[in-house]
């Protein structure tokens, strides 16, 4: 008989092992990496560790509720002559893995249904005349292939999965041997229920979570469950300091929103994560349980690089966009808001509404059976019975404001521009648009805010926007194009509003000079048109200039001179260019 197994050294493999030992306590992992051998190696490792009977259910990103939750089985119902229910994927994954492909594009409503199943350990089905409750418990492996910060897994789902594994962590495992087997996992699972967590370990894990600014109690619960799994693997009855440190490292390192105390005072807290007022209070309260240094260092050492940059203030918080983000709705005949059913002789790409179809057929059954001499139970269906669900798409707009904050915009002018944008924001609120803000001055353009619906934040970053410096107009337009393209990729309709006097003097390569800069700006404007983007140029110069008008024409957008336009007029133009 072998001794207790040695835990893998690589965090990704370690996470896989803990998931296999304690699936109910850890829920799963999101893997943020492109498809490739590294990612496959991880899923293979997990497969090797799970019981060989465990289901591995792949969920395509376009899945509908009928397949996810289950619903009437059309063919079987017709054959049997009475409703037959088909099991959905959530139930099929019971005891195994729910593998979400392209998870960053998962519709919010789909994610919400999966989240509910995770929370409850069962699914409640109220569909197509069927009422059912089925127990189901599964590990979620969400393959997030998002590249841009705004393309990522539904934040509510991410919060419900213990681990987030990035491509760096996956790369570390290249060629690594797992070092333990299914047998070890089975043994650990048997021990798991008996593993206890001391009060001190719990206090430590909570204190460390607070020190890193982690808000959700779920993170702490995951850390505790991960520590228990680690202890069970090692054959221990109680969670030790090492187990807790390991768990903190795996669970907290991807969730940190700030660095622990000492140097964090000068770092501005990521907006909206916590009200700044209660931060010092929180630290004072935690005075009696100082977070353990060893554990804090363990987490700190494991922080992924991009998160580290963000916490150090070198980059804008990628999570800032978590508010109201990712309403990715694809435009097809099968998505959107169902607005009723209609008879259809030709299904095409539409979704058959089974219930409506059966209802249409029901009254004729006696007659048709007599006519056709069918066996009694079979349902006689005809083409004219077919009904499909009608969907109405509701496509959201993201308005991208591109603001010229250069010196040629005299201070007073910039204030007027800010005022105009604020008024426009009110419209955006009414339409529930998302808004993004890009400013350009000096030698580059900067994304002040990724698309968000938190308009108060737009107002805040707008009022904090300083003016002065050269005019890198081309860079501003390029930044807008990049953002617009990624917005469109998420299924929303981007609209770009450029506020400038059109006098660029910094070229794309950073050199100054009005001629080159102009040429570059025109090129950038043409690219906007080439992408088919909706644009509006608000000329902010004191007297309207042909240059700005030409730029608007090159963009293929509308042109509004600010001096003659009150906010209402601009608003109307935005409406026109967006509608």
């Amino acid at each position: 008989m072998a001794g207790d197994p040695k835990l893998p050294e690589q965090d990704a493999l370690l996470a896989a092992t803990l998931l296999a030992v304690n699936p109910a306590g850890l829920n799963g992992a999101s893997i943020r990496a492109l498809s490739g051998p590294d990612r496959d190696a991880f899923t293979e490792a997990l497969k090797c560790l799970l019981p060989d009977t465990a289901a591995w259910v792949k969920v395509p990103v376009t899945i509908g509720f009928d397949r996810l939750l289950g619903g009437l089985d059309f063919a079987a119902t017709v054959a049997a002559g009475s409703p037959v229910f088909a099991t959905g994927l959530l139930e099929a994954a019971n005891g195994g893995v729910l593998n979400l492909a392209m998870a960053e594009r998962l519709a919010e409503s789909t994610a919400a249904v999966i989240n509910q199943a995770i929370d409850r350990g069962e699914i409640r089905i109220e569909r197509d005349g069927v009422t059912l409750t089925r127990a189901t418990s599964f590990l979620v492996v969400a393959l997030d292939e998002g590249l841009e910060p705004e393309e990522q897994l539904n934040p509510a789902m991410k919060d419900r999965l213990a681990f987030e594994i990035g491509s760096e962590a996956l790369a570390e495992c290249r060629g690594a041997a797992l070092g333990l087997s299914r047998v070890d996992v089975v043994r650990a699972r048997q021990r798991l229920a008996a593993v206890t967590v001391g009060g001190e370990s719990i206090e430590q894990l909570v204190a460390v979570a607070l020190a890193f600014g982690i808000d959700s109690v779920r993170a702490e619960l995951f850390a505790i469950e991960a520590a228990r799994a680690a202890a069970a693997l090692a054959g221990r009855q109680t969670v030790t300091q090492d187990d807790a440190a390991l768990a903190a490292r795996l669970v907290y390192s991807t969730r940190a929103t700030r660095m622990p105390a000492e140097e964090s005072d000068s770092t501005p807290a990521p907006a909206e994560q916590e009200p700044p007022a209660d931060e010092p209070g929180a630290e004072r309260q935690s005075g009696d349980t100082m977070p353990d240094e060893v554990m804090v260092d363990a987490v700190r050492a494991a922080l992924p690089k991009d998160l580290l940059d963000m916490l150090a203030g070198n980059a804008r918080p990628p999570r800032a966009s978590s508010g109201g983000r990712s309403k990715s709705r694809t435009r097809s005949k099968r998505r959107g808001r169902p607005v009723g059913v209609r008879p259809s002789y030709d299904l095409g790409a539409s979704r058959l509404n089974i219930l409506a179809t059966l209802k249409a057929a029901a009254p004729w059954q006696t007659l048709r059976r007599q006519e056709q001499d069918l066996e009694a139970r079979r349902i006689a269906l005809r083409k004219e019975d077919l009904h499909v669900t009608r969907y109405e798409d509701n496509v959201e707009t993201s308005t991208i404001f591109v603001v010229d904050a250069s010196g040629s915009q005299a201070a007073q002018r910039l204030a007027e521009v800010k005022g105009a944008i604020e008024l426009l924001l009110n419209d955006c609120y009414v339409r529930r648009d998302q808004v993004a803000l890009i400013a350009f001055r000096g030698d580059s353009a900067e994304t002040l805010l990724p698309p968000t619906r938190a308009l108060a934040r737009v107002k805040r970053s707008l009022s904090a926007l300083p003016g002065g410096g050269a005019t890198p107009l081309a860079a501003g337009l390029d930044a807008a194009r990049d953002m617009a393209v990624s917005v469109a990729r998420l299924g929303r309709v981007p609209a770009i509003v450029v506020l400038t006097d059109g006098r660029g003097n910094v070229a794309r390569d950073g050199t100054t000079g009005a001629d080159v800069a102009d040429e570059d700006a025109i090129k950038a404007a043409r690219l906007l048109r080439a992408e088919g983007l909706r644009t509006l140029l608000v000329d902010t110069s004191r007297r309207p200039r042909p240059r700005a008008r030409r730029l608007a024409a090159e963009m293929g957008g509308e042109y509004v001179p600010l001096p003659f336009a009150d906010a209402a007029a601009i608003s109307a133009s935005v409406q026109r260019s967006v509608a």
């Binding site: 409703p83 409640r124 009696d288 006696t366 108060a456």
Partner: protein
């Protein structure tokens, strides 16, 4: 089921749920806040605190034998049998289809027996009870449309597939959600009597206690439930007593005037805010065993009764309850 009394802290949330349990006419509770704060836990736990109710045996709408009755055969006869039933707390899961919400043609009977009969939906089951919507802000729009009408009228009218059915559907809406994941339509917001913003505690002791109790519950739910059953029983008796007392709680003209002033200062739309404020203050007084509504009662319940009725100002960052607090300080 995690016991209600074992929930650590979150006093506002628990208080609002108790008030809604005392006076149904207040119209339910909306819990809005951070992820993982135990919103859904609290709502599901509420069910076990509610005293049982008498209903006609076999009636799909749980009609009260003393009061309004539906037109099904169970209620139509003169000698009705009735029994004590637990108050229904009906869960409206995401992904629900329209036919299961409002009720529809019984497809099995239609196919197999060729009979046209009505298969009641979730609204029927929720009559006289609570309709609970987890992640209410993620509910699909067409389902929300169905709820809005019924929640206001207390009656479900089904006109589909050749059926014409009308049945009572008086339920209290209880919802939970995370505003970061999508906003709620103002019309739906208005259907909730009380709204509470729930946030995570940042104090180590509180969070440690949350985790310890969770852990204890998950290890042995039964023993945990037993341990807290006395505390739950106490709360249940408090609700029963408050229900008996509430009619006698005095609301002076002074208090009515104060309530009106608060609502005017906050510019809430319509009179629903005022009415809810008074009713909630009365239920609060009844729970505390007080004979009359005082300024303190008004002050306690004003944030939960009014914060979701303020006109939204997209550019004002301060939270709604902070705005209510400001007005309270000025007015009281």
């Amino acid at each position: 089921m995690f016991p209600f009394s074992a929930i650590v802290g979150q006093d506002d949330m628990k208080h609002a749920l108790m008030i809604a349990a005392v006076d149904r006419s207040i119209g339910g509770v909306l819990l809005f806040g951070d992820r993982g704060t135990g919103k859904s836990t609290a709502i599901r736990a509420l069910a076990s605190l509610l005293p049982k109710m008498r209903a006609v045996v076999g009636c799909p709408y749980s009609c009260d034998p003393e009061k309004y009755q539906c037109d099904t055969s169970h209620c139509g006869v003169t000698r009705r049998k009735s029994k004590l039933y637990p108050v229904p707390v009906v869960d409206l899961p995401l992904g629900v289809t329209e036919d299961r919400v409002v009720g529809a043609l019984d497809i099995e009977k239609a196919l197999v027996q060729g009979q046209k009969s009505f298969d009641p939906g979730l609204l029927a089951r929720a009559n006289r009870g609570f309709l609970y919507i987890d992640e209410v802000n993620l509910l699909e729009d067409h389902i929300v449309d169905l709820l809005l009408d019924v929640a206001a009228s207390g009656e479900n009218l089904v006109e589909r597939e050749g059926l014409s059915v009308r049945h009572p559907a008086r339920f209290v809406l209880v919802g939970s959600g995370n505003p970061e994941e999508g906003e709620l339509r103002p019309q739906l917001l208005d259907r909730f009597g009380l709204a509470v913003e729930v946030s995570t505690s940042t104090d180590v002791k509180g969070r440690v206690e949350v985790i310890k109790r969770r852990d204890a519950y998950e290890r042995d739910p039964e023993a945990f439930g037993k341990k807290w059953s006395r505390a739950d029983g106490k709360l249940r008796r408090r609700i029963v007593k408050a229900r008996e007392r509430i009619e006698a709680v005095d609301v002076s003209d002074d208090m009515l005037a104060k309530a009106a002033e608060i609502c005017m200062a906050l510019e809430t739309d319509g009179s629903r805010g005022e009415l809810t404020l008074i009713r909630a203050a009365r239920a609060h007084a009844a729970l505390d065993g007080d004979a009359a509504v005082t300024i303190d009662h008004l002050r306690d319940v004003a944030p939960m009764a009014l914060s979701h009725r303020l006109r939204r100002n997209p550019l004002d960052e301060s939270s709604a309850s902070a705005r209510v607090q400001r007005v309270l300080e000025a007015e009281l």
